[in-house]
Symmetry: C2
Subunit: 211 residues, 2 copies
């Protein structure tokens, strides 16, 4: 069957693939699964791992020239040389429904905010996604001593990057003359992050979805 570049399809073929754009790459000749979607998305998948070997984001344009598939999008281009087509299947009525996800960071954040007294007993005011010039604070608490408690929520294991992020916020509140304390709320935390936190007025609050 002839490849129709205007149709969504998957193609299993012996190919060579090259890419040039933000970066550049080559992929040695072999059998790969090539998936084309109606929004222009193109995926070149290898026989293992989650990520495609090459891809184009939505909006790409696919063309067929002799034995070459060429996908272009802005300054990016994929070239696929077709040596042998093993199978070709078009996909009609392909669903574009979205996955509904729960147990996200936003949910965890809201749970903590709703039961904030379990974490900061003398809390007076609670703000969620409090805006500052250096980013939004997940939860901002003002306690009975007028201390600004900056809480950064992480759904997985918190690392040094979380400490850096908090310190951008605490520094900001210091600069505008507030008393401040930092908190990381997460199910887990890396050893280095915990150590770094201890030396910089940041406390760890153990928190997960089961609460």
């Amino acid at each position: 069957m002839q490849i129709r570049v205007e149709q969504p399809f998957s193609l299993y073929a012996d190919v060579d693939v090259t890419y040039d754009g933000r970066a550049a790459s080559t992929l040695e000749r072999g059998n790969y699964l090539i998936v084309h979607k109606s929004d222009g998305t193109l995926l070149v998948m290898g026989g293992d791992k989650y990520k495609p070997r090459n891809y184009q984001a939505p909006g790409a344009i696919l063309k067929l020239h002799n034995n070459q598939l060429v996908s272009t999008r802005k300054d990016e281009r994929i070239n696929i040389i077709l040596h042998n087509i093993i199978s070709y299947t078009e996909h009609h009525d392909w669903s574009v429904a979205r996955t509904k996800v729960t147990k996200t960071e936003a949910e965890l954040r809201d749970k903590i905010a709703a039961s904030i007294k379990d974490y900061i007993p003398n809390a007076i005011e609670v703000f969620v996604e409090f805006q500052t010039p250096v980013g939004n604070v997940d939860i901002l608490v003002i306690d009975a001593n007028n201390v600004y408690c900056v809480i950064e929520v992480k759904r997985g294991r918190a690392s040094l990057a979380a400490c850096s992020q908090i310190r951008r916020y605490t520094e900001y509140f210091n600069e505008i003359g507030r008393q401040v304390k930092g908190y990381i709320a997460s199910p887990q935390i890396s050893k280095n992050a915990l150590k770094h936190a201890g030396g910089h007025n940041i406390a760890w609050l153990k928190a997960d979805h089961s609460i």
Copy 2:
């Protein structure tokens, strides 16, 4: 053709999908492309976008019970109810070759380090991936005035996170009694990051792969 769960294959079918694990999700019934790889990877792809609607990472085990595909991996599980199989194709001799990528951040870093005098004219010593307790510095330069120059390299547009990262390093060198200055080296930088950098002794070095 009957589905063989021990084979790599792609399957286009009318299905219902649910997931539970680190998060949880549901996907409404419809036609999706399901890809199974020999390392256990499972992908449920919708008709648009780059990312799969659901997936299992390498190492998952796939089983078929009546009209249900079940993939399990540690504490994670995907359930696929098969209402109607539209097409099924097995993929033999599927290549697992890796893509060779160039123009990466590491390349840019090495280029800058090799021609450091173009950026910091009075450089005396240059270290690449210099280790500190708060992470590795991309490029550390000691200049003629014994100032420790911390250079953070970004291959794309640098943002506030780059500033935070640098400040972890500069603070460390301050604590051990060094004179220090921060640099971001990148092709582009966000407006907020540039502003934040200006106020915190961080300079921006414009750098890209063309040099």
